[in-house]
């Protein structure tokens, strides 16, 4: 699931400083689940912006809308009449959402209110961690289901670096060293041979940016 986080208010204010009337668009899927861009956050950000503008002596009129998925052209189409009434759009979707709106309504400037961070999962409610780097060449079959590319700071494929200490990573003493976790799981499953094999360097161009997938006709 895509995890995003709201930009600081200062940055958002600068983006829309010159506008009097804007439309805030939320997205009902990933960013709702990670509490960043759902209908509730749209309401809170709109209210905060109105207060901020009033604090600086100005006035801001806001329209609010939340589409089911911002990365679908048909769903973004529903914003048509609201967009006509505003000078700019502030999108609370992930990067894909912002660009779907920008591509569809080219005459109206579209601004991102969130920073799309990573593909991840909730460790507990309110705390999300990255556990997939979308590298295009999944390695999980060889490590018992723990991704070294994302969860090891250096993305190593052949075992831990010299910097691991008591199972923790050199970069952050709180973070587990992925290879220690892999070692323990493979040992538990009796599949340490997987760790003993040599793995050649990764194909870093497995996903030529920007990625594209052409599905066979269904």
């Amino acid at each position: 699931m895509i995890i995003a986080e709201r930009k600081p208010l200062e940055d958002i204010k600068q983006m829309i400083a010159q506008y009097k009337k804007i439309l805030l668009v939320g997205c009902g899927t990933c960013v709702t689940v990670c509490w960043a861009g759902g209908e509730k956050e749209v309401g809170i950000l709109a209210s905060q912006l109105r207060l901020a503008f009033r604090r600086d002596g100005g006035e801001l009129e806001t329209l609010e809308a939340t589409v089911e998925r911002q990365c679908e052209k048909e769903m973004v189409e529903e914003l048509k009449d609201k967009i006509q009434q505003v000078e700019a759009v502030l999108s609370l979707g992930c990067g894909a959402g912002v660009q779907t709106i920008a591509d569809r309504f080219e005459e109206t400037p579209v601004y991102p209110a969130l920073n799309t961070k990573f593909v991840g999962m909730p460790e507990r409610e309110g705390l999300w961690i990255e556990n997939c780097g979308a590298c295009g060449d999944c390695f999980l079959d060889r490590t018992g289901g723990i991704c070294p590319i994302v969860r090891c700071a250096k993305g190593l494929l052949n075992g831990p670096c010299g910097g691991t200490n008591k199972g923790k990573c050199e970069v952050d003493p709180e973070k587990d060293c992925a290879w220690t976790l892999i070692y323990r799981r493979l040992e538990k499953q009796g599949r340490l041979d997987l760790m003993r094999k040599y793995y050649p360097p990764r194909n870093f161009q497995a996903v030529v940016r920007p990625g594209k997938i052409e599905a066979q006709r269904v």
Partner: protein, 141 residues
């Protein structure tokens, strides 16, 4: 700063039905006066207040917002007052981001049969908001 006419702060109080509302009744029965300009919005539990409600209260011109909940460990719904405290902290952060004094949002606790404490809390709140002055977020004339 108050130009002659005495600044009367407008405070919105989200009152939990299980504690603050009954404490207000108890204060009433003991005829203990407290400031009139506290607008009491009743909620089934302190956990029902959303950060949006707090911000909207400021948009409508409130000078201070308070959530009056049960004491910690005495909430009918166990976690209601703890959730409310987290939301007040978030509202504080949002207000500071806007450049407004975060102390305008606060959470206080009281017991349903403690009328005198309810009145005391209301007076303290009014003093504090008077000291902070009118909210810069009021609608312009």
């Amino acid at each position: 700063m108050t130009t002659g006419v005495e600044f009367l702060p407008c405070i919105v109080a989200f009152c939990c039905v299980h504690s603050a509302y009954q404490a207000a009744d108890a204060a009433g029965r003991m005829r203990i006066p407290y400031p009139e300009n506290i607008i009491m919005v009743h909620i089934p539990c302190a956990g029902r207040v959303d950060t949006l409600h707090i911000l909207r209260a400021f948009e409508n011109g409130a000078d201070g917002v308070v959530i009056l909940a049960c004491h910690e460990g005495a909430c009918h719904h166990i976690l209601g007052n703890i959730r409310a405290k987290e939301r007040v902290e978030r509202a504080n952060a949002l207000l500071r981001e806007i450049g407004v004094d975060g102390r305008r949002v606060e959470m206080r606790t009281c017991a349903p049969n403690d009328g005198s404490r309810f009145a005391r809390v209301c007076h303290e709140l009014e003093e504090k908001i008077k000291e902070l002055g009118p909210s810069p977020l009021r609608k312009h004339a």
